[in-house]
Symmetry: C2
Subunit: 207 residues, 2 copies
């Protein structure tokens, strides 16, 4: 397989237009969309081919409400660490789309998978969580290519989310993903547009 400029241009456009979306329309996702996203995760790299990501599609309204309550609690605590001016700015940011997102996925990492037979993670067990992060990125790009918005929510306490989902002892909570059709299109990422943090270039040096 040899890729051409056509593939490279498509990839860069998808990456350039990937967004962290927090404003969703409540409409359901197109038929088959979730299956496409699941397949994208299947194509992600993983240490030793261990594929440690574990996904729960959250449909139960009570579970959703419990996650939302956890977010609200953690977000209020997070706001408290900023000084008054920054706190007002923080509180203006919309950091979750938990109220409207029609699809919600709780993503965990199996920290003791049989698959992979331990390969490549003896000195760096964190490679399992790196693998899950890459699988989320694969899903994110596939979502964007399908014109579906994704917001990754990390203002949560991992242990409490694991307890909420009665996750096995060896699962570690990685991220909560909100998915849906975006309410509007951004030409500038949200945090850049909101003046929270502008885009800095990658730090890259030669030795």
């Amino acid at each position: 397989m040899s890729f051409s400029e056509h593939h490279r241009a498509a990839l860069v456009e998808i990456m350039r237009w990937r967004r962290d979306v927090r404003h969703f329309r409540p409409d359901p996702l197109p038929e088959g969309a979730l299956e496409t996203l699941r397949q994208a995760m299947d194509l992600a790299p993983s240490v030793g081919n261990a594929r440690p990501w574990r996904v729960i599609r959250v449909r139960d309204p009570e579970l959703r409400a419990a996650v939302r309550a956890e977010f609200t609690r953690c977000n209020a605590e997070a706001a408290g660490v900023y000084d008054e001016e920054e706190r007002q700015e923080y509180l203006r940011l919309k950091l979750a789309g938990l109220d409207a997102a029609p699809e919600q996925l709780a993503v965990f990492t199996e920290t003791a998978p049989e698959a992979g037979r331990g390969l490549g993670r003896r000195t760096m067990p964190e490679t399992l969580e790196q693998s899950t992060a890459m699988a989320i990125h694969a899903l994110w790009l596939a979502a964007r290519a399908a014109n579906i918005g994704l917001g990754m929510v990390s203002i949560l306490e991992p242990a409490r989310i694991a307890a909420l989902f009665d996750a096995p002892e060896s699962w570690r909570f990685t991220a909560y993903l909100c998915l849906g059709l975006p309410e509007f299109e951004d030409d500038t990422p949200l945090l850049h547009r909101a003046d929270w943090q502008r885009n800095l270039p990658t730090s890259w040096e030669d030795r």
Copy 2:
């Protein structure tokens, strides 16, 4: 921006043909290729837009030799934990391309970045390392689209690699990347082909 089937097909093809490459031709990368890879990292998501990835392009032959020695040491120790039959199988796997890869990148994560102003990582500081993992995945896809192979080496001791590069206290070693033109094309991922670990589907349940 609205993406069409053309973009989705290109993305899936690139993801499907992404490989962990360990067999490189020694030829240098095409002119401008590294800059393309750096730009792909710039497009990765990051918590609070903190962009915590830090990249060192390793050219110094002494540094390369030191990394190679560290890999050899860790790999021998890793082989030791398997029983005899599995150990022979392990030792037949080629797990690094450090001898031939014309380009090598040491990737670190800044665990205390100013950028992002702490947003989104109070309860989950690991979101910084998730961000770096996603940036590596972005670079990996861009490399594949440019017909460049990438092997991610994690059989290394993070603290020793950080010391080797005299990294700041707040940097954590994330991965060592070998890049080059692949020696051959696989239609099956290496670990699957070598019967180490077949491809399992993503675990996905509804609640």
